[in-house]
């Protein structure tokens, strides 16, 4: 009951991953489809095994995201886990970002009245965030997103920025061209929400001009020289209010810099000529449809840590299960006249002759992780109440063998089926071979020792048949 309930919560059942739309240090961002809700979402996948961040801190960050709800930010929906990854599900902005807008439509900068609208919306998002003492840390055109309706939302904040800033002091958060001087300065012990205002100033410059200041220079040099150099200024055929807005944001000392609340009152953003960017979004979609938007993710979703293969190391807790030996005598009598050697096995007509070359490539251990066998013991967790009664005291030969590292499933069953697979003439036979092997793997994962008991029974049977024939 609960199990199936849990299963239905598996991310891959709930969401269909469409394509990778972004790559970050902390995880790849995918466009995905929420099957139940029938809508598109953005999924940020954070590989927890690779990440050095403390899970508790990451979780705290997610809890904080969960407490933010505003029409001006891309809202948090939920978090799920799959394999060793966290899937953070957020609203998806189908209209792309302002960076896309510049790339496809306004190569030399977005018209001022549109920039004013975008900026006013970003400020509303910042006012909401800053009121809760939350810092975005990475304001730039690429993180200002557009919905299908042409509304503006602030995206990609939270998890990465917050954590990195709290954990690793001295590491930079943000993107060099947009960074505030106090973020770059190491002697500065920290920074506050005013850093976002600096980045906003750079972003407005970027939106108007098509690129941030000094974008032709090396980003690291720009960053290092930032505290020394005087603030960039907006020149050219722009309105006074736009130029003033940028210079008000780009005050080097954060204490003297205006707050988001104050900037929202600036006359650059107080009289707006438009109320959405619907037309641009429509146009952008047509433009973008032509080039594929897919990127290759940093960590492939296919690459799972728990791929169903057996652990590399097994301990010696158990001896062979005390098997209730069936009454071999009677079993043998009833089938005795089968004369096992006389008729060829039904498979053999489909198979190569046993002139089989043992190639080095076929070591069962390496093959156990091939993709077709991936799902085997997905649920093979250690059972506290083990289904198999393990007799710990009686030592046996089988145990000695296992001490040598013999795994009945891997070294015998898997090995034999591998050979059968290779001997098979046609694909259909191979499918059957794989099918039976799959069932073996499943049984082994559910009942540890299954293969061992099976082999034991086969060996016993062959022995008794041999004995019978020898008579």
């Amino acid at each position: 009951m609960l199990g199936s309930f849990q299963k239905s919560l598996d991310p891959s059942n709930t969401y269909t991953i469409r394509q990778c739309v972004g790559r970050g240090n902390f995880g790849d961002v995918y466009k995905a489809y929420d099957k139940a809700e029938g809508k598109t979402v953005a999924v940020k996948v954070v590989n927890l095994e690779q990440s050095e961040e403390d899970i508790d801190l990451l979780a705290q960050e997610i809890f904080f995201l969960a407490e933010l709800k505003s029409p001006f930010i891309t809202n948090y929906i939920t978090t799920l886990t799959e394999d060793v990854s966290m899937w953070i599900v957020m609203e998806y902005c189908g209209g792309g970002s302002c960076a896309d807008l510049m790339k496809h439509i306004y190569i030399n900068g977005i018209p001022e009245k549109k920039v004013a609208f975008i900026t006013s919306q970003v400020l509303k998002g910042l006012v909401y965030l800053h009121e809760q003492k939350k810092i975005h840390r990475d304001i730039k055109a690429a993180n200002i997103l557009l919905t299908d309706e042409g509304k503006v939302k602030l995206g990609d904040f939270g998890v990465s920025g917050q954590i990195r800033a709290t954990l690793k002091r001295g590491t930079f958060v943000g993107t060099p061209y947009w960074m505030a001087p106090e973020v770059v300065c190491k002697e500065n012990d920290g920074y506050d929400e005013k850093a976002d205002i600096w980045s906003l100033g750079i972003t407005v410059y970027e939106l108007l001009k098509g690129a941030p200041p000094l974008s032709k220079c090396d980003p690291m040099k720009v960053m290092i020289n930032l505290p020394k150099r005087k603030s960039p200024a907006l020149h050219g055929h722009y309105s006074h209010s736009a130029k003033n807005f940028v210079s008000t944001c780009l005050v080097k000392n954060p204490v003297g810099r205006a707050s988001a609340y104050e900037m929202a009152e600036h006359n650059f953003v107080s009289q707006l000529a438009i109320s959405d960017l619907k037309e641009d979004v429509g146009y952008l979609k047509i433009k973008k449809a032509n080039d594929s938007h897919s990127r290759s993710p940093r960590y492939s979703l296919e690459n799972r840590l728990y791929d169903g293969s057996a652990p590399n190391f097994t301990w010696d807790f158990e001896s062979i299960r005390s098997v209730k030996k069936p009454n071999l005598g009677s079993a043998l009598l009833s089938t005795a006249n089968l004369s096992p050697a006389s008729s060829p096995s039904p498979l053999s007509s489909n198979m190569h002759s046993p002139s089989y070359q043992q190639t080095e490539g076929i070591t069962p251990i390496t093959h156990a992780t091939t993709p077709s066998f991936r799902q085997y013991n997905k649920d093979n967790n250690y059972e506290v109440e083990s289904p198999m009664e393990i007799d710990l005291d009686s030592s046996s030969m089988a145990e000695e063998i296992r001490n040598k590292g013999l795994d009945y499933y891997k070294n015998v069953i898997f090995h034999c089926f591998r050979r059968m697979h290779d001997r098979a003439h046609d694909n259909e036979t191979r499918v059957y071979v794989d099918e039976v092997l799959k069932n073996f793997a499943f049984a082994e994962s559910k009942v540890v020792g299954f293969s061992e008991v099976f082999i034991e029974e086969v060996a016993l049977r062959l022995d008794s048949i041999k004995d019978f024939l020898a008579k």
């Binding site: 394999d83 840590l305 301990w315 046996s396 030969m397």
Partner: protein, 382 residues
């Protein structure tokens, strides 16, 4: 003082405009609106009441923070606190928590944590109050559990969870949490909840069990029943939890058994064969991080100078395997303490008696022939 009006909404607005706001009135107004939420027959009037509560919670927050103009006097803030206690405002709010608006619940959490820190004459007034009225905390634990049954109750769970975590920082309040049988329900939520509720529950349990070590060892783990129940529950999490749960619960266990005052827990845990097996299985997990957490428990088991016989036997039996395991374990971790610990553990394992194998089995030759016969032979020999 005031006579009851029929159309309260209208008359109250009028009243607020005319009268200077006194802190007691804020509290009373919120309480009245909560009753209204409960008794309202139409969605409309309910929503209206919800909005009113949100609004006055915000006013209360500004008042208590001294954010108003003119700034409230110290006396009037004291009065506000008194009014909050007298009317059992938090209990009332918690009862109606599911009916509050999203932002209103955050205001409650914020007001609550400000109240917790409030002290007068060197006394934490709110803490004392909550100790005298444990039903408030009980209510929180109840909400946390009921959030499991409600769909989309994450928000509810997270905000109440935050309040609980704030409470746990105070020893007297942590005691109430530890005494409440609801505590055990949290383990179930860790296992069966979604990511948010599961992670938050484990965080609540962690802080309840690790913040006040003396309290926990003297009043919680000293009850054998509690200790056994804890071991049973934490083992379930480590064995059956999600990847995140396994890592975090193993980490919690490791941090608990190394606390000196928890030595009873440690002794019970490290001498059980089942526990050893579980920890050893976790050490072979695919996750390096989990292996590492498990090692932090395993090292205590190995370092134990008075190992129980079953534990000792399994260690001896796996002596060679363990030595092999430690050849490659934790090579990526460079912390000096870890390296020292690992070295010590390897020495301990090396000093275990070696089993001399009675029969040299050549795997490749013998296995396929007839394991059963060899088994029988070995059994005969033994």
């Amino acid at each position: 003082m005031f006579k009851k009006y029929k159309n309260q909404d209208l008359d109250m607005t009028f009243w607020w405009k005319k009268n200077p706001k006194s802190p007691q009135d804020y509290v009373k107004f919120i309480s009245d609106q909560l009753i209204k939420i409960e008794s309202s027959s139409t969605q409309d009037s309910k929503r209206k009441a919800q909005e009113e509560v949100s609004k006055y919670l915000m006013y209360t927050k500004h008042f208590i923070l001294g954010d108003t103009d003119p700034r409230p006097t110290a006396e009037s803030i004291d009065e506000l606190y008194c009014a909050i206690y007298r009317s059992e405002l938090f209990y009332d709010l918690l009862i109606h928590f599911g009916d509050l608006e999203f932002e209103a619940r955050k205001e409650v959490t914020l007001i609550f944590s400000i109240c917790l820190r409030y002290s007068k004459d060197n006394k934490l007034v709110t803490v004392d109050y909550l100790v005298s009225k444990p039903k408030t905390l009980r209510m929180m634990l109840k909400i946390v559990e009921s959030a499991m049954q409600r769909k989309a109750a994450n928000d509810l769970f997270l905000t109440v969870g935050n309040m609980l975590m704030e409470c746990i920082k105070y020893e007297q309040l942590c005691r109430i949490v530890l005494q409440d049988p609801q505590l055990w329900k949290l383990f179930d939520i860790v296992r069966f909840g979604n990511f948010e509720t599961s992670t938050e529950s484990l965080q609540i349990l962690s802080s309840a069990l690790t913040t006040h070590t003396k309290l926990v060892s003297k009043e919680f783990f000293n009850h054998e029943n509690n200790m056994n129940k804890f071991i049973q529950n934490i083992n379930k999490l480590m064995a059956h939890g999600s990847y995140v749960t396994k890592r975090q619960s193993t980490k919690l266990l490791a941090s608990l058994i190394v606390v000196r005052s928890n030595n009873q827990l440690m002794n019970t845990y490290i001498n059980s064969l089942d526990n050893l097996k579980l920890i050893m299985v976790l050490m072979t997990d695919k996750s390096k991080n989990l292996q590492h957490e498990a090692f932090n428990v395993f090292k205590v088991m190995v370092a134990n100078p008075r190992k129980s016989k079953p534990v000792f036997d399994i260690l001896v039996k796996n002596r060679e395997k363990l030595l092999k395991y430690f050849e490659t374990f934790g090579l990526d971790y460079q912390e000096p303490t870890f390296i020292d610990e690992k070295e010590f553990i390897v020495q301990e394992i090396e000093s275990l008696p070696r089993i001399v194998s009675s029969n040299n089995v050549d795997c490749s030759a013998n296995v396929t022939a007839s394991p059963s016969r060899d088994v029988a032979a070995a059994q005969d020999m033994a």
